[in-house]
């Protein structure tokens, strides 16, 4: 990624900034793979893949630590200003968001093990659909971040509403399954947590998009993000 603005007098700073950006991009790829694998493991009930995701979480954590270290070093030694400061500080935020994404992915992978003990519920497919959507959003937000593409960032920011809407409808679907047959309650509750994890990942993708917008323009995206999640005001659907 070309550093913003003109090259610096201290060329080592450019190299460090470049290394930081590369590290973030690499971490993004890791988080993406973790999420993709976790969703795949859930849909295909693949325990081996789930284990791989759980093991892979450490690598993401290590990368986050090294990003933090790099940021502290740069702040202490180079005292970056203006857009450089924005890039350095936001790296911290993006790394944090990506680490949370990987955590949620590992959480989903843990649930794959639990779900194995229960009869399969058809709702897994719907959760998989939510996973695909969130993965697409995460990919878009990372593409936007690595290219400083504001337009893409805004698109991600707007599309988070879709995630919320799908989450709400999924919530309803799962409740219906639970009311149909009490044996569905256990697996469906787990799926509810998985769906919540995915919804949170969608929020983290939005954070990355907001950071992208901030780095590129220096302005914040408005607070009034469209919200489509209505589960907070949700009652049990009336049984007929």
């Amino acid at each position: 990624m070309p550093p913003l603005g003109t090259p610096h007098t201290v060329r080592a700073f450019d190299a460090e900034l470049d290394a930081l950006n590369q590290k973030i991009a690499r971490m993004g790829g890791m988080a993406e793979t973790q999420l993709g694998d976790a969703v795949q493991a859930l849909v295909t009930a693949d325990l081996a893949l789930a284990d791989q995701v759980i093991k892979g979480d450490d690598a993401v954590d290590t990368t986050e630590d090294s990003v933090n270290e790099m940021v502290v070093r740069m702040l202490a030694l180079r005292q970056p200003m203006a857009d450089d400061l924005r890039v350095v500080m936001s790296s911290l935020k993006v790394a944090g968001a990506l680490e949370r994404v990987a955590d949620h992915a590992a959480g989903i992978a843990h649930r794959v093990h639990t779900l194995k003990h229960h009869a399969p519920v058809p709702a897994v497919k719907s959760v998989g659909r939510l996973g695909t959507l969130v993965l697409e959003l995460l990919k878009d937000s990372l593409d936007g971040y690595t290219n400083r593409d504001t337009e893409r960032a805004i698109r991600v920011w707007e599309r988070d509403e879709e995630v919320d809407a799908l989450y709400s409808s999924l919530f309803r679907e799962l409740l219906t399954y639970m009311m149909e047959d009490p044996r569905n309650i256990a697996p469906c509750s787990h799926l509810l947590f998985v769906a919540k994890n995915l919804e949170r990942i969608g929020d983290h993708a939005t954070t990355v998009a907001e950071v992208t917008h901030f780095i590129a323009t220096g302005k914040r995206l408005g607070r009034g993000r469209p919200k489509g999640d209505t589960t907070a005001s949700f009652d049990m659907p009336e049984s007929k």
């Binding site: 990624m1 590290k23 993004g28 790829g29 993406e32 690598a59 695909t132 697409e136």
Partner: protein, 477 residues
């Protein structure tokens, strides 16, 4: 260069050179004065004259030499004519040698550039995306296929910002650090999932004398294997479907056997009823296995067209006769409308029997009570576009028309897929295996013919089979 400008001679240099050249003459003059052979005034005058004249002679020569020097120093692509060098033969010599050198160097550079261009063109033409990476993990070169795939210009950007996949980045690290070559498979997520085989290969000439000037150390090559992965998926799906289709009747048979051995051991009514169902289910399984076997048999032979001649008229009447009972049960009449004189077609009689058996029994099954199924044969000048070009002219077509409920448009393209059913429950109830039309399609393909389906919801459907006539059959009419 149109305008010839002579190099100006710096005064200091000219003076120095002149003084150096006149030094012996001046020394002789000083000697003559010291020995008293020459008056001091004359000596000084002679000395000055020598200096001035030498300077005057030297000046154009030095200017020539400077011209030549400038000519030599000029860039190769600068178009220059060699300096005239009127006063100095040495300068002329050097100039002509320089011209020769320039020409030779020019040719070499042009050849090298042409080679580089052709290499670049080659890289650009390669259909697979390629990236060249340097030690600092920057993309130093890419081809248009790579940019099309990644959706943006990728040259001179860090690899991580272009391809984030951790597998690729790890492989690149391994290749840069240990010179390890690796092959891996990755999935590009997105609205359409795509699978790639990625080859990370260190360049053999990356270090040492032949190292590329752009610093490329390794090659990342992507190979699209989406089609392969999809095919494999389809195969797996087919096996899963087939076993599912077999398991359903098997489960019900097993269930009845259990009941017959247990609670219904002495119940004669139940025996009769259950045995009837078991017979029906077992028959369904048998049919399914037969269909699967004939499908795989046909697929094996699909690439070798049949060679025998067959009489369509005989086949169609036989099939109609065989289906008589089924048709009567349903109250459906089968009407054959076949011209008296029909040229034979190239075909395998058994396979064609199976085709029309499947089509006609479908028509009877899905036709409404008290309607007719019409089977008509005609000659067409030209078969449909789906037919292979070589067999298209003068084809024979068999239409099997029913007056059933018809098939909605969205199902038509998928009808010949294995286990595709418009209405699963109804198909099972009528004893369908979901393979009938797939078999028809494969047999017709093997015969180098075509199958077309026309249907109007509420009015009925027409299945038309186009077959190539046997050669020479039209001459003896």
């Amino acid at each position: 260069m149109a305008e010839r400008r002579r190099s100006s001679v710096p005064a200091g240099r000219l003076l120095g050179l002149t003084l150096l050249l006149v030094a012996p003459a001046v020394a002789v003059l000083i000697g003559l004065v010291l020995l008293g052979h020459l008056g001091i005034v004359a000596a000084v005058a002679a000395g000055l004259a020598i200096i001035v004249l030498t300077g005057a002679v030297l000046r154009p020569i030095v200017a020539d030499l400077l011209d030549v020097a400038a000519y030599l120093r000029a860039d190769l692509d600068e178009d220059r004519t060699p300096p005239e060098a009127r006063y100095s033969e040495t300068a002329r010599d050097i100039a002509s040698a320089a011209t020769f050198l320039r020409q030779r160097a020019g040719l070499r550079v042009a050849a090298a550039e042409a080679r580089a261009d052709s290499h670049a063109a080659l890289l650009d033409c390669l259909p697979g995306p390629l990236l060249l990476i340097d030690q600092g993990r920057q993309v130093v070169r890419s081809n248009p296929a790579a940019e099309a795939l990644l959706g943006r210009a990728v040259t001179n950007r860090p690899l991580a910002s272009v391809l984030r996949d951790p597998q690729i980045l790890t492989a690149v690290d391994a290749a840069l650090d240990d010179g390890k070559r690796s092959e891996l498979q990755i999935v590009f997520t997105g609205p359409v999932e795509r699978n790639f085989e990625v080859l990370v290969e260190p360049l053999a000439t990356a270090t040492g004398a032949g190292a590329p000037a752009d610093g490329a150390r390794l090659l990342v090559q992507l190979h699209d294997i989406t089609a392969l992965v999809r095919t494999e998926q389809m195969r797996a799906d087919f096996v899963a479907n087939a076993s599912h289709e077999l398991r359903t009747p098997l489960t019900s048979v097993l269930g009845f056997i259990e009941t017959l051995r247990g609670p219904a051991r002495d119940d004669q009514d139940a025996h009769d009823r259950f045995l009837a169902i078991m017979f029906q289910q077992a028959t369904r399984m048998k049919r399914l296995i037969e269909d699967l076997l004939s499908l795989s048999r046909i697929e094996l032979r699909e690439h070798t067209p049949p060679t025998g001649r067959t009489d369509l008229r005989r086949i169609l009447s036989q099939v109609a006769e065989g289906l008589q009972i089924q048709a009567e049960e349903k109250g459906v009449g089968v009407v054959l409308d076949i011209p008296a004189k029909l040229p034979p077609v190239i075909g395998d009689a058994d396979e064609l029997t199976q085709v029309f058996q499947n089509l006609m029994s479908n028509a009877i099954k899905y036709g409404r009570r008290d309607t007719a199924v019409t089977v008509s044969v005609e000659r067409v000048g030209r078969g449909p576009a789906a037919m292979p070009h070589a067999t298209r002219t003068d084809a024979l077509v068999v239409h099997v028309r029913d007056a059933g409920d018809g098939i909605a448009k969205e199902h038509l393209p998928r009808l010949t897929e294995r286990f595709y059913r418009v209405d699963t429950a109804r198909s099972r109830e009528l004893g369908g295996t979901g393979l009938g039309l797939a078999i028809v399609k494969h047999i017709v393909n093997r015969h180098r013919g075509a199958l077309t389906i026309d249907s109007t919801v509420g009015r009925g459907s027409t299945f038309s089979v186009y077959l190539p006539p046997s050669p020479g059959s039209f001459e003896d009419r």
